[in-house]
Amino acid sequence: MVENRPFLSFLTHAALILGVAFLCFPVWMALVASTHGAEALSRAPIPLWFGDRGWENYAQLLSGGLPEAGGVPVGRMMLNSLVMALMITVGKIAVSILAAYAIVYFRFPFRMGFFWIVFLTLMLPVEVRILPTYDVAVRLGLLNSYLGLSLPLIASATATFLFRQFFLTIPDELVEAARIDRAGPMRFFRDILIPLSRTNIAALFIILFIYGWNQYLWPLLVTTEERFATVVVGIQRMTNTGEALPVWHYIMGTTVLAMLPPVLVVLSMQKLFVKGLVEQEK
């Protein structure tokens, strides 16, 4: 629609700006709150502009341990989150691309059966199978380890399905050309399939990284030692101060810090991400 009506374009812009403001306001508040002291935040009215305690707050968060968070520096929690999120992301992509490769390109008995079994696990996210999964994790001795944090979250029906759909769009002729060029199964996978899936992998990387980073329930359950706490769990711990006043300036500071890695991932990969979602190299 190409219409030149100033009022309409004013209206659409107003609606969009309002929407952006609505979405950004909480982020703004977190950012502002993290630069004030505890007293400023417990008094009404809540400050809407930056305070002067920013450096101190963030220095304290990153280096020193906060008693409210079990004495673990936020830096450590972020590292834990990063390791967990990366393990989940890389693991999910690796497992699902291989599964999709097997399902699409190899003829083996019960091929579609396996596909549907993988597909059915869509209905079994961690939250549904949390007790049996926890039981398995305990028996395997995975409590309080990075492996325990990530392994149960790695299997991914969604990613397998996505790769399968993408592989099905790759023309047969390309596969045949590769066979004539003497590319064996592994060579074909490495030289042709993975480069062609690049944008899909990037899109999935972003989605899965954020999924992994935001995990809450499972890390809460499988880690009891403070040194394995992830940042999302850490935030929750800080708010549970019982009788004492919540340390809002630290909580908000941690929140801001926790937002940074996903933002960085999205910013650095958004070009590929958009490409992966809208266009396909054929």
């Binding site: 004539i180 060029d181 030289d191």
Partner: protein, 335 residues
Amino acid sequence: MAGLSLRGVKKVYPGGVTAVEGADVEIADGEFVVLVGPSGCGKSTLLRMVAGLEEISAGEVAIDGAVVNRREPGERDIAMVFQNYALYPHMSVRQNMAYGLKNVGMPKPEIAARIDAAAKVLQLGELLDRKPRQLSGGQRQRVAMGRALVREPKAFLLDEPLSNLDAKLRTHMRGELKELHQRLRATFLYVTHDQVEAMSLADRIVVMNAGRIEQIGAPREIYDRPATRFVAEFIGAPQMNFLPGALLDETVAAIGLRPEALSLGGAGEIRLEGRLRLVEDLGADRFAHIGLGEAGPTVIARAAPGASLAPGDAVSLSAARAAIHRFGEDGRRIG
């Protein structure tokens, strides 16, 4: 370079559909053989069996005397050009051409030398570092040819390589392909549904229909002496006119006359009377569609240049009796 031989090659798909029933073709070293037929006649399946992309149900395919039935496509020492070119989209032209050579562990300097040589032959020089999506259809076609060329294979297999190009470019590439064959003197097996391509490119044509080979022969031979009614219909445009034998005092089931064998007016041994229905002017040729009698069949005749023709005119046709093709009840040629 080497010859190809197909002996009783048969393809039966699981489920019982027979795509190719026992094809026997001997292709000499350096020969350009075109498999032609309507879609679904099994010509592509036959080619794919030679390539090794399709399993052979029965019979033997031999390349340079060695039976290759059980060999992988990559081990048959053939090169294939696909209908949609099948270039690797993420690789540059150079990488596309190098890929097959790299996979067999050829040393880099030799790969580079072969690519340079092929690029020179196909005028791919400036394109070597482009990606396939930055190329036009004709250029992609040339790259696909180049990828086949660098392999220096025993035989080139081409599966409708020109069918994705527009008419003008197709004619041009057809010429290039023919020239390339003359320069390389390599064995070519070429699949097409276009009889013009078959006629213009082939040393020998294999006409296929419904999984069977109808006729094998040089283009001229196929055109002049079609072995079956199917071949006579399929080769030649506009197609041959068919009339019941009785119409011209012949004892056979059907007779065929090529449009150029019929002349308007004139004095041949055979005469037919009719009324002009329409005239197709193709520039070089004009084809007159003539209805024989009120409800009779329509025949197409090539009109002599200059003659004035108007629909509705009563015209008489003549032909030499020697120009008649005779076909029996079963569609086979008689005489």
